[in-house]
Amino acid sequence: MTPARARLNEILVTLPSAGWLAVLFVVPALIVVAISFKPTDPLGGAGAGWTLDTLKSLGNPNYPAILWRTLWLSITTTALCILLATPVGYCLARLEKKWRQMVLLLVVVPFWTSFLIRIFAWKMLLHPEGIIKQALAGLGIVSPETPLLYNQWAVLLVMVYTFLPFAILPVYAAAEKFDFRLIEAARDLGARRFQAFCRVFLPGIRRGLFTALLIVFIPALGSYVIPDIVGGPGAEMLGNKIAQRVFVDRNLPHACALSLLLILAVLLPLTAVLALQGAREKARPIIEEGA
């Protein structure tokens, strides 16, 4: 096959997917960027001409509060998910094969069911007449007037519930490859159980923890349905504001400017984690190789 012919073949196999994504992914993204430089049309949609006013309006006192809430909820969700996923990953990796597969299946199966239904299930549990509310009020832990629904804590709870399996899978994948004799060695050398866990096991599954971090944090930042269903006006996130600007106010330039803010919020931690990971891999050999 001549080089020109090989090149033509390559282009022919690349074109269908690359072309589709160029038209339906890249062009739409560019439109979002373009419209955020457009003035608002009071009749809805984007006005004529170009302006920086739309981007400047992000300084509007409402927005920083929502941005901070979005970051706060996403960071806390990610931290809790990793905190809970680590012992589960450890446990899964140490279980016998037969049990391991069963528990793994149990972790994954509920999440093949509709995402909306799982949020709805929590809405019913936290509902003033739902069983959690009644149980807590019955035990005197909360007063009957305390609302469990429509606040930030409800959003946090349901976010952790939704994203936890996505954290468990990469942590487990890393823990499965971990050589548990290293922990025994650390213990023989005098480390306490917790010390061995923190200083041998955690560095050993570092890659899994990084993956879990990204796989939870990025979609958490873009959350829209969870705060919409279990959060109230006081628990709005960036995603809700974008949807509100599109569907309620029909203010597309503002929606696009907020979308740019969200893209920025996604890209900054992503590049930071990837750079950190890259630097670490170069700086010292991975623990398994030394073992």
Partner: protein, 256 residues
């Protein structure tokens, strides 16, 4: 050496956390009470109302049409993408890989708003067709990643052997490559189907009047409708999922 029991207890507690809401939902679907705070007797009334709810069946049909068509197209596009990425190591493929990878990390709401603006700019009528286009767009990357994983341990000398034995390009593709890649294609297709049938956020942005899918119908029922009806619908969907998992596990066991 004695192992700590803490991880095992945490795992057990998390499984309870995962299943408790689902269990309550299923139990309540048989409850006569409207809010499910207390048990007021067994009944199938919500199921019979659900069966007569014509809008739900209409939405389910829409969802199935979109899921089947978009998973077929995304398997075709995702597979060619994976073949190109695996076969060639050029700068074009580096860019191609970026293009395939970025949709995976893009929050859904951003894909939704950007495609909505694109469809408006292109003057397209929002409806089932725009939903189909959007679903193919986010499924291609997932399919490409699944097939690419399969290709990593695929032996391409088999294709060369087929060609040495006289197969032309078409025969080598359809009689050797595709059958051998079939598990990857099926896995990618099933993933695309699941993602499509469950997608709410992107669909919500690009749907038009008369193109309600099942998740959109469920969302409006959660917002405005009757909770017990959703309980009954959820129980049916859960039963379908569990049956599908059970059957696929059974098939896997028989093969190995």
């Amino acid at each position: 050496m004695k192992r700590s029991l803490v991880p095992y207890c945490v795992t057990a507690a998390i499984l309870v956390f995962f299943y408790l809401p689902i269990l309550v939902l299923v139990v309540n679907s048989f409850n006569t009470s409207r809010f499910g705070g207390s048990w007021e007797g067994f009944s199938l009334v919500w199921y019979s109302r659900l069966l007569n709810h014509r809008e739900i069946w209409h939405a389910l049909t829409n969802s199935l049409v979109i899921a089947v068509s978009s998973s077929i197209v995304s398997v075709l596009l995702g597979t060619t993408a994976a073949l190109a990425l695996h076969r060639y190591a050029t700068r074009l493929q580096k860019a191609h890989y970026m293009l395939i990878y970025t949709p995976l990390i893009m929050p859904e709401i951003l894909m939704g708003i950007s495609m909505l603006l694109f469809f408006i700019a292109a003057g397209m009528q929002l409806g089932l067709f725009t939903i189909f286009l959007a679903h193919v767009t986010f499924c291609i990357s997932f399919v490409a990643m699944v097939v690419l994983g399969r290709l990593q341990d695929f032996d391409f000398s088999i294709i060369e052997a087929a060609q040495d034995l006289g197969a032309n390009w078409w025969q080598a593709t359809w009689k050797v490559l595709v059958p051998l890649l079939m598990p990857g294609l099926v896995a990618g297709g099933l993933l695309a189907f699941t993602l499509s049938i469950d997608d709410f956020v992107i669909t919500f942005f690009v749907a038009g009047p008369g193109s309600t899918t099942l998740p959109i119908r469920i969302y409006s029922m959660i917002k405005h409708g009757s909770p017990p009806l959703i309980n009954a619908l959820s129980t049916i969907l859960l039963a379908v999922t569990f049956a599908a998992v059970y059957i696929s596990q059974h098939l896997l066991e028989d093969k190995t």
